[in-house]
Structures are given as C-alpha cells and as structure tokens.
C-alpha cells in the first residue's frame, strides 16, 4: 500500500519529459521553433545565459540539458553525457528543430509527414502498470507470510496439538484459514483500487477488470500453498520469515511485479515462467490496464490452481503436527 502511494507520486508526471536547453544570446532556430507551436514547442523549455561559459557551466552541473549558441548559420549544441537518458532526446529534438528550419527555408511544403502515437490509450500512465504489479506482490507476501507464520506459531505454542486432539476436523481449520485469507485479499484488492483510482493517482480500469477477482482468489490459494510449505519446513518464526522472503522478493523483482518484464534480460524472462507471481501480475495487467478481454486472464486462472495443487501436496507431505 505504501509502495503504491510512493511510486504513484513519483511517477505521476513521468510521461511529460521536457528538454531544457540554455540559449546563449539569440538563437534564431529556437525562437522559430517556439513560434511554430506544438509538438516541438511543447517539449522545449528554453532558458537564457549571458555568456558561453555560464551556459556550459549550467550544463556541466546538470541544471540545463544543453547549451545552444549560434555563429552565423552554424548552430552549436554542447551537451553532457552525465545524464544519458537526457543526452539522446536533446540531440534528436535539436536536430529535428534544425531540420524543420531547413525545410521551412526551402520554401517547399514537406513531402512526407510522420504521425506517431502509442498503441495504448492516451491515458495510459505508469500507475496502470504498477498497480497490478504492486497489488500482486502485496497479495503474494500477505498470503505466504500469513500462512507460514501462523502455522509455525501454532506448532510452537502447541495449539496445533490441541486442535489435533480436539474433535475438530482438519478440513474446517484449513477452510477457516483459507476463508480469512481470501476475505483479507479481496479487501486488499478493494482498498488498492480505491486508492489508485483517486484522481491524484488516476488509475483507469479497463472493461474486463472484474476478472481480477478470480485472479486474486487463484493467486491467494497459490501463495498460501507456498506459505504452508514454508511453515511445514521452518521450525521457528524467524526461519519462516527468512525462507518466505527468499521466495517472495526474487519473485517480485524477476516476475514483473516491480519492474516491467520488457526490460528484463532473456534468462530472467525464462526464469519467470516458473513463478506464480508472473502469471498473476500479467493476468491482472491484461484485464485491468491493457484493456484485453476476460479471456486474457484464463491462462493464469488455469496455471495457478495447478501450481497450488502441486505445492499443496508437497506441503501436506512435509506437514508436522509437532516439533519433535
């Protein structure tokens, strides 16, 4: 939850990335570009410097992205590679400013026009991507830690032994725990969506978002089975926490909960196919943010219960009522 608020605030405006060159004296090109209006004028935030030295200093310190000066018909651009993500756009934006000016000077209308737009809805903001990721991670750690630590602490204080010796069915205890975990998970989902949909963060849910509900249920069952396995192996609560962290954190980073899979190296993508979190997060992204139909969630809804079954069987096999 905290992460959602944190990342949501940081990346709120990341789509509007401006280039701020500093102009020495009068640079005809830049004033032309500003007069020409969007799109170039929109990404340029030009400031002025009195001397070349002052402009270069501003670029070196990172206060400006580039220093631009004009000698006759020759325009000189000095930039810093300290900020590599800015260096590229600076060069290409200023190059296209020069090209536009050349083209205008030729007196001919442009022969080719290029219009580029992203394939997603215009409103697609970072929050669309990391709400499913962070939600998946929150649900995964909640279900895993909850199941593991409860199991270990019940075994440690002999409550498990008492439950075993009372006329209480194992089924009703397990059903009660699963019911609680599902209720908590669905509340988590509701709170997450409510916060992310605040105008401040501006999450836009797409049509099939309701498919996240079965996804959340399947995901919680899968992570509870991991938690039960951890609880069956671990002897102390500290060990349970450590083992659960070892499983959940790499999964959150490599399975696409924190970082988009598109930037990941190939081996990470290969490894993510064994991680249940990957299926849950991509499934939720598809139906919540990418606007795909309800069917997009079906692979995850098929794979997660299979995973639950396999891990659950191993957990039941390793389960102990007592520490001895």
């Amino acid at each position: 939850m905290l992460f959602l608020v944190f990342f949501g605030s940081i990346y709120k405006n990341s789509s509007a990335s401006k280039i701020s060159p500093v102009e020495v004296g009068q640079v005809q090109l830049l004033s032309q570009a500003r007069r020409a209006g969007p799109p170039l004028a929109k990404v340029l935030a030009v400031s002025h410097a009195r001397s070349v030295a002052a402009a270069l200093d501003a670029v070196r310190k990172g206060n400006s992205d580039a220093a631009v000066l004009q000698r006759g018909a020759h325009v000189i651009v000095r930039y810093s590679i300290a900020d590599q993500t800015k260096a590229g756009p600076v060069n290409s934006v200023l190059a296209s400013v020069a090209q536009a000016a050349n083209q205008a000077a030729s007196g001919q209308p442009p022969r080719f026009t290029l219009s580029a737009s992203q394939v997603e809805d215009k409103s697609l903001k970072p929050i669309q991507y990391f709400t499913p990721g962070l939600l998946g991670w929150a649900l995964a750690s909640g279900a895993t830690f909850g199941a593991a630590i409860t199991l270990v602490s019940w075994r440690q204080n002999k409550l498990l032994r008492r439950l075993r010796l009372a006329p209480i069915g194992t089924g009703s205890i397990v059903a009660a725990r699963i019911g609680i975990a599902l209720a908590i998970g669905l509340i988590q989902l509701a709170v997450f969506l409510a916060i992310a949909r605040l105008p401040y963060f501006g999450l836009q849910l797409t049509a099939a978002w309701w498919m996240t509900i079965p996804l959340v249920v399947c995901g919680i069952l899968a992570f509870m089975s991991i938690g039960l396995l951890v609880g069956a192996i671990a002897k102390t609560q500290q060990a349970a926490t450590a083992i659960a962290n070892l499983i959940i954190l790499p999964m959150a980073f490599l399975g696409g909960a924190f970082l988009p899979q598109d930037f990941a190296p190939d081996w990470v993508r290969q490894a993510s196919y064994v991680m249940p979190l990957r299926y849950q997060v991509t499934g939720m992204q598809d139906v919540m943010a990418r606007g795909e139909g309800p069917a997009a969630a079906l692979p995850a809804i098929g794979i997660l219960p299979g995973f639950t079954l396999v891990v659950g069987v191993v957990a039941v096999r390793t389960f102990r009522w007592d520490d001895i």
Binding site: N157, K158, L159, A166, P167, I168, G169, S172
Partner: protein, 162 residues
C-alpha cells in the same frame, strides 16, 4: 471416533493469539460444532464452571498461570467429553491457585467424568486420585490406590497428607 468422547488439555499457553477468554471458548466450541454437531455450550457458563467469569473479556495471554490453566481446562471441556486428559494442570501455579484447581478437578470428577492427569506432586496424587500409577521412562512401575502406591514406591517417598 474417539475424539468427541475425550478432552485433552495439552499446555496452558496453547491458545489462539489475541482472543479473550470468552472468544477462545467460543472458537473451540464452534470449531468442534462444525463437524460433530456438538451443541455449542454457553461460553459464559463454561467460564463460570472454571471460575473465570470476571476474566471473560481478558485476552488469554494476559491471564495468570492458574487462570490460563483453568481456561485451558474449559477449552478441553467444550464438547462435553466423558474422559479428560490433563497434562500437569498444576505445574507452574502458585499454592492458592493450585487449591482452586483441585476444587475444580474434584467438581469435574464428581460430574461423572473420568479424569486422567499427570503430576510431579505426590500430595496432589494422594489428595485427588482414586488410582495412581508411577511412571518412569514410559513404563508403569507401580499402580493402585494412592495410599498403597505412595507407601511402597521405590524411592521410599512418603508424602504428608495434602
């Protein structure tokens, strides 16, 4: 199935975390009731039986040793068992609380239930029990009425009457 007919009190601290005394009994009662249709007893009556009426709203981890023992026994009684096993019910309990527990155990015994308990105290065995068995390493060394067993036990121990 034997489980509905026996009640076991494993250790005083085996409770659900953060539940009050009344909630502990209700939780055990409803967990039992789900499967065996045992009528859920009134939790407050149960607390009254073990003398915890005033502690009904107190969390289990805040109860004193003796109170926790009595709550533990109450939890073992929720499904009205015929046979009750108690594991050192008076261990780590102050002398006064121990006397209260004795009274409780006598009441349970008088209500027609068989109580099997373990203890380190010969005087306790002598005062409470109809039959005593002395165990060492899982083997019964002596068994019989308390007077006979404590008199002839190999250690030569002879307790003063409780």
């Amino acid at each position: 199935m034997l489980l509905p007919r026996i009640g076991v009190q494993p250790q005083a601290s085996s409770f659900f975390e953060r539940l009050t005394a009344r909630e502990q009994i209700r939780t055990f009662a409803s967990l039992c009731g789900v499967l065996y249709g045992v009528p859920a007893k009134n939790a407050d009556d149960m607390l009254g039986t073990v003398g915890l009426t005033d502690q009904a709203g107190v969390r289990a981890e805040k109860l004193s040793g003796g109170q926790a023992q009595r709550l533990s026994i109450a939890c073992a009684l929720v499904h009205d068992p015929e046979l009750l096993f108690l594991d050192e019910p008076t261990g780590a309990v102050d002398p006064q609380a121990r006397r209260n527990l004795w009274d409780l155990l006598r009441e349970i015994s008088n209500s027609g239930r068989t109580v099997v308990l373990t203890t380190h105290h010969m005087d306790e065995a002598e005062s409470l029990c109809d039959r005593v068995a002395i165990m060492d390493h899982g083997k019964i060394l002596r068994a019989g009425p308390p007077a006979a067993v404590t008199l002839t036990s190999r250690s030569g121990y002879r307790s003063s009457p409780g």
